[in-house]
Amino acid sequence: MSRDGVAVRLEGVELCYRLAKQRIPSLKEYAIHWMKGSLAYEKLWALRDVSFTVEVGDSLGIVGRNGAGKSTLLKVISRVLQPTRGNAKIYGSVAPILELGAGFDAELTGEENIYLNALLLGHTRREVDARREEIVAFSGLGDFIRTPIRNYSSGMVARLGFSVAMAWIPDILVLDEVLTVGDEQFVRQCERRMEEFLAQGATIVLVTHDVDAVRKVCRRALWLDEGRIRAEGPADDIVDRYLEFSGSA
């Protein structure tokens, strides 16, 4: 599905959150303001003129301060948000883990959640049947898989979420600051799996404040600041520059 070996291509992407000046949460108020022509919005640009390309099989780490637009950028890459302006071309299937436990039902057991979550990611029941045991084994949750996940710790939820999302090799794997919850052993297990993905030609985009993980997993990195790209290049260089800047600030 990729074009000329490109997995992600963003051209002049801008993304604006329209915050209503006075909050208009009801239809009645909206209608009144609309008739009076007094709908005013404060525009908050989360992304400004963002252009970059990720090649197939590459791994990109995104670093930056809180509120720099990292998560918003991942949502654009995951096809959750449409850019206000500019062009975002995402080629192939995307497996996003933007938030731990997104799409989990606390009342369902781990096993039932495997199905629910995989279906939400666009897999079929048959595909899940074929991988179920593999997913349970990867998660290392053992007998807990048959208990409702409201009894799980956040680490266990993370294990389950990763095990589902990483059971199939996607064209693009998108991770948002979620690797940090698992224990040492599980994180290593995930890193190994990601290396396998990369070896098989998958693309990885990763946001994390754990700069060591960026150095380890990513070949390239992108430094985002106030919605703009501050720097882009080999992961080690970018992380060094980012750390230097953060240290001095």
Binding site: L27, K28, S78, Y115, L119, R125
Partner: protein, 260 residues
Amino acid sequence: MGNERAMSQLFRYRDLVWALVARDLKVRYRRSTIGFLWTMLQPLLTMLVLTIVFSALFRFKLEHYPVYALAGIMFWNFFSQSITASMNSLKGNASLVSKLPVPKAVFPLATVIAGVINLLLALVPLFVILLVTGQPIRPAVLFLPVPILLAALFTLGAGLALSPLAVLFYDTIEMVEVLLTMLMYLTPIFYPMTIVPEHYRWIVRFNPMRSVLEIFRDPIYFGKIPPITHLTVATVVTVIALLVGVVAFRRSSARIPFYV
């Protein structure tokens, strides 16, 4: 995203749609026997009350009134419950669609499918009533899949148009409920057209719900295939509702992840 892309996306997520349908039905029939009985009992009780009120108090002559009313109530319950449930379903999953690239239409779609299954189950006691009251069941009931399909698509259109609004504005659901009540009285569900005074009849005639209801009730109550005029109007109304729904949904649902 083009229309074909959206359709193929929905097809890819078909197993998710069925899982959502199954969950919806499971919740509905949770306390299995009581839940199932209630779905049957609720329209029956309403029918009983209406029969007493309308044939004893208001006195209009309509043969086999219980069947007339019950068919109407079943249709209306399907329509209004599916719309409210569509709105709640998208609202309940709004935070999810801001974290996963799930096609948002799966939620209203699954709700309407669950509603259709529920309607089919409710046909069972309806036929029992037909037998009990001595109203013959004619072969025309085999035509029912057509009106049920049209009613489902009409309802889907309305659900698609309204459900994103329920996420963006908290008061949408209560306002829609008021509108639905008004619309219910404007639809000849429990009264025949003949009791509407001549010079007000046009209001009921122009009600888009009416023909969709009549083609559902004709095979059951009159035991005949609905006239071509009603069928045509119902089809046109359904196509319009579906088109409006799809366009409105695609425009407003893209905004949902921004507001959650």
